[in-house]
């Protein structure tokens, strides 16, 4: 199997990040050879998500190794480990299915460290005879790890959430939430035709477009800027960071209202967006917790207990003000 990624591999990786055909992006579970492995070559364990598998094989140029691909239903190592599909049972089953004990003479498996939430090393040893050696978090550090006699430096064991990592998960966030944002924006747009007298197309073109733009602006701005600005936004709770970002958007709205007051059909509308824009921003940032690599479930529950009631109240008051704005 090749360690060079073809342009087609790179193109499909890009497509997957943008959510196109993501669930079909799999490789067949089993044992693969990289270079010319022998009975003494290392065995590296991976998931059958093609993005994980490609990342791994691309880092192994010039090396001879076995890759044992587990059936994780096309999910990456980290998430599959959380769900348990990248786990002790599947690993032991796959070792037997490919008769690994007959292929290699040693009894060591290199399992990615991020698979550890699903794999109990001592149970794998007891059930299969293979000793699990946890490899580095990032596949790119595998050659150094192997060259050092399967020793990981402290840095190889650390998960970071740097700008590059945050930028990589941003499109995933943008795509999954886009349909909800569009539905909400369309609802506001259509409701904007309501008012004294009959349903008005003129109002659709005025308040309707403005409302849709406000929703989409708050959603898009927060979804793109929260990951980028994460370390610099004040507060620890993601909902707080999003609210701060929303206040920046709010300044933009106030500047707009100052120089172009006709954009808002009434004070009610202006007040409504002053509430709704930071609320949308806070909510979207809160949902970014799922894409981060450092938020705990206990922490997420704690921040939600505080943030969700505030967001809900602001949303109800904001929508009410906006609806009043239709009729004054």
């Amino acid at each position: 199997m090749s360690t060079t990624l073809r342009p087609a591999d790179r193109l499909s990786a890009w497509r997957v990040r943008w959510g196109i055909g993501r669930m079909r992006y799999t490789v067949e579970p089993g044992l693969y050879a990289v270079g010319h492995p022998t009975a003494g070559s290392p065995v590296l364990v991976s998931a059958n998500y093609k993005l994980s598998f490609d990342r791994l094989r691309a880092e192994l140029a010039g090396l001879d190794a076995w890759i044992l691909v587990l059936d994780t239903a096309g999910i990456n190592v980290w998430c599959a480990a959380g769900k348990g599909t990248f786990g002790t049972d599947e690993l032991v089953r796959r070792i037997e299915a490919v008769r690994l004990a007959e292929v290699v003479s040693h009894r060591v498996l290199v399992v990615p460290q991020l698979g550890a939430p699903g794999v109990a090393a001592h149970e794998v040893k007891r059930r299969s005879g293979f000793r699990v050696q946890y490899g580095p978090v990032r596949a790119q550090e595998l050659p150094a790890f192997l060259a050092a006699g399967m020793k990981a430096t402290p840095d190889m064991r650390r998960v970071y959430f740097r700008l590059r990592d945050r930028a990589a998960v941003m499109p995933v966030e943008l795509v999954w939430s886009a349909k909800y944002a569009l539905v909400v924006a369309a609802t506001f747009f259509l409701l904007a035709g309501l008012g004294p007298g009959i349903y008005s197309w003129t109002r659709l073109a005025g308040a309707g477009l403005l409302s849709a733009a406000m929703i989409l602006g708050a959603w898009g701005g927060s979804t793109v800027l929260t990951p980028v600005l994460l370390p610099w936004l004040p507060g620890r709770a993601l909902s707080a960071k999003g609210a701060w970002l929303g206040l920046v958007f709010l300044l933009g709205i106030l500047v707009c209202a100052r120089f172009y007051p006709a954009a808002f059909d009434s004070w009610f509308s202006l007040a409504a967006w002053c509430l709704l824009v930071p609320t949308v921003s806070s909510f979207m940032a809160m949902n970014f917790t799922g894409a981060t690599t450092y938020t705990s479930l206990s922490g997420v529950r704690r921040e939600m207990r505080v943030a969700v009631p505030i967001q809900a109240a602001a949303a109800v008051v904001g929508v009410t003000l906006w609806l009043i704005g239709r009729f004054v």
Binding site: G82, V159, G290, V300
Partner: protein, 99 residues
């Protein structure tokens, strides 16, 4: 740049020092360097860095560690609350968890 820090004092991680054999497995699997080895025993050195992934507890042969593990994802908490299930991080759907 300092690593990002989440809320303080919320994590459910506990370590039973009596049971610990000092094998160091928790140090190997922790992605946030929560543990240190002092005098042949593991110690929680940086509790607030823990993201409750559960790797340490799963890999502790002495069963000295416990943590209520789960995915720190607001979307899955919302979906779980709406669908009445305890935890639902459905990676097969369009959810962003597990991106």
């Amino acid at each position: 740049m300092a690593e990002l820090r989440y809320l303080l004092g919320v994590v459910t991680l506990t370590l039973d020092g009596e049971k610990c054999t000092g094998c160091g497995m928790c140090l190997s699997v922790c992605p946030h360097a929560v543990f240190q080895l002092d005098d042949g025993r593991a110690r929680i050195a940086d509790r607030d860095a823990c993201m409750e992934c559960g790797a340490c507890a799963r890999n502790c042969p002495a069963e000295a560690l416990s943590v209520r593990s789960g995915v720190g994802c607001a979307t899955s908490v919302i979906i779980g609350a709406l669908s009445g299930s305890q935890r639902s991080c459905d990676c097969s759907g369009s959810s962003p968890c597990c991106g």
